[in-house]
Amino acid sequence: MAQTSTSRDLRFLDPAVIARLGTMELKARTVVEGFLAGLHRSPFKGFSVEFAEYRQYLPGDDLSTLDWKVYARSDRHYVKKFEEETNLECHLLVDVSASMAYRGGAPMSKLEYGSVLAGSLAFLMNRQRDASGLIAFDDRIAFRMPASARPGHLHALLLALEHLKPGERSDVGRPLHQLAEALVKRSLVVLISDLLDDPEPAIRGLRHLKFRGSDVVVFQVLDPHELTFPFRGPSRFRDVESADEVTADPASVRAAYLRELAGLTLRYDRELRGAGIDYVQLDTSQPLDFALLSYLSARSRRK
């Protein structure tokens, strides 16, 4: 069983990917948070294990961190936060809606691709002793793993990514707002989603996160078929989430579809960048390392 888990983890830890990220690791940390010593700067005073604050308990928090004394006094659940966990807290938000299970012309579904991406980032964080957490959501939060940099956390996170199952309809805005309310310190929030829903709630949620002081990076993961619409012959296109159908001749609707997609991309790009949010569109047919390098390069330019 242990061997199986290890082999599965390796899927997320492609040595080639790690090697490439290793050359960009310090730059990434500086750009994202700047907490760590060395190439990136922490906004706080060094490392410590001193008590920093209380935070209201959220489902998924480690019960060992519950402050039972406060609970006895106030009848409310609070967890204790310590300085060492605030170097960089990264929350990986992975969309597990049904549309993320789509796989057209790529070797991996969008969910698999996004999971590998999240795992790679988590590994990167863990290597720098940054805390990484995972939130999987569709129209609600389906799974949550608090950010932590403790030994064994990465393995648990990777295991959780491995077992992510596609859910139902997506609603990016709602979990983003929930997370924004729950976060009490500046964090790095990485959203991995296809963002094919109504963009307005998603943009509002992301702005909310940004407003709460978190740095936000958005990976829009799309399948090549979604990017190029290569279908031929009249077809009934059935929505994988809503089961809505549109009968169309791809040849005649392709141009209009691509225009719509380009408009959506343009809107995300314009509005998110305007809000200080990084937005990267990924093609699941492209190598994952290429996607990460694209992101890190973007962060590098921002620095």
Partner: protein, 612 residues
Amino acid sequence: MNFLFPAFLLGGLAIAVPIVLHFLRRDVAPPVPFTAVRLLRKSPVARSKRRRLRDLLLLAARVVALLLLAAAFARPYVAGAARGSTLRIVAIDRSYSMNAPGRFAHALDLAGRAIDEAAVGERVAVLAFDDHVETVAAPGSATAARTALAAIAAGFGATRYSEVFTKAAEIAAGDEARLILVSDLQRSGWDGEDRSVLPAGISLDVRDAGRAPSNLSVVSVSVTPDRVIAAVRNSGPQPRSGKIRVEHDGRIAQTSTYTVGPDSAVDVAIPYRPPSTGTMTVSIDDPEGLSADNSRFVVLDAGPSNSVLLVTSGANPSGYYIARALAAIGGTDVGRIDVRSSTAAALADDNLTKYSAVVLLSTRALDRRGRESIAGFVRAGGGLLIAGSPEVEAAVVSAIFNWSSSMTGTIEMPAAVALSPTDPRHPVFRPFASLSANLGQVRFARAWRITADGWEIAARFTDGNPALVERREGTGRVVLFASDLDRQWNDFPLHPAFVPFVIEAVRYLSAPHDRGRDYIVGTAPAGADLRPGAYRVGPDNRLIAVNVDPREGVTKEMGQQEFAQRVERVDTTSGSSGDVRSIHLEAGQSYWRYGLLLMLLALVAESFVGRA
């Protein structure tokens, strides 16, 4: 619009395939799971109309292509298209019987009138015929036809009508036409013609050029050492008499008199010792009749003879019947056959090159040298007739030419087995014509069993086994008769058919060596004119005599009605003749080419629409 092969139109049913596919695919679009359907829904709706139009165009192009392909294979033609301008064919007889005083001029006048009767736009063709048909004016204007007609002169050929009808049908090419035949309606023009066919689409208009005059003709001449015998025929109703002359090298050598009764012939013996070389002419005077047959040319040079070697067993009756049959030809006529006999044992010492044919009746004591001699003789162009007799061993015969098991032993025949020519046109059987049934009276008791591998079968026994087979060896021929010719396995030599059978078989095998001296006008080798006379021809400058066909001199006429009854009319609208007409029409129009071209255009259009 008609079709030569209408069954191919059934191929047009293939249009059901694209039509069915069109309707099947029209509403059934396969479901495709997709994520961004929300974006698709915002696409313009007008696309469906365009797609529908494109699909209809594609369907139309495919249906049209299939229909055109089926139509092209069905070979369409327009039956009435070639009838727009009618055709008039004027055929004028130019045989030597038309040379009677004033007759050919009258015939030209009749033909000219026939041309003048042509309607405006009607095409006119002119044929001149005797025993050959010449198209002197292809279908065209009446003016061109008149010009061509003026150049025609009577010749020295004999009348043959059937070829005129064949040529007329060929020119009409299945179209309707009118054939105006101008002739003296010589009855002899039908000699040897079993059947003359004229398509019903060609109307026949016979115009009589005039009654033939009484005619005297020298129909044959034979020469003996001390006299010349000439046959004189009188085709008139009155007895005739007169002088007959023998001319040698242009000088009158002897004269005699003759008297011949009405419509009869007489042999006139002229006491004259002809020289052994040169040419001789036997002539009579007949100012009222035809002039071309008043003289007959004879070559006096000793002609080549065909020499045949009979390879016998040396005992009676081996070769007896064949020798007697060949002797029936006569020793003085051109084409005589000298017969020599030899045993198989002596064959090796004999020089076979001096023979034109060898008849193998026995292989007893035929050694290797003898076999090689026969094989070399045949491969050098000689003829070999093998009789499957008890004196001939099949294994020895096979060894001569290294045949592999062509003869597989002998078979006992039931009493009723007879001979039946498989190919009546074979030179051995051709002279029998309708008399070939006589061969059926011969009874065969035993014969060789011959496998047909490598052989052409000319005749079979009535039980189906090959009876007379032929094959080529080198440049020579081998004819194998499956039963014997010495009356051991059959009674063939006792039947009248035996003599012509043997003679024709030997002549056929000797044909490459046969160099005749007496020819009919039109059949003489190159170098001779198309008129009677003596000519030197060939690389050896041999002397030949060319005479007119004596049948033409028998001036028996027939009425126009009787003439027309001899012509079998075939309805061209049905049956094989109709097919021929349709084939001619279709071949002339070739609409299928346009069909295929349009089909290609339809496919190109389909390709463009499909890519749009």
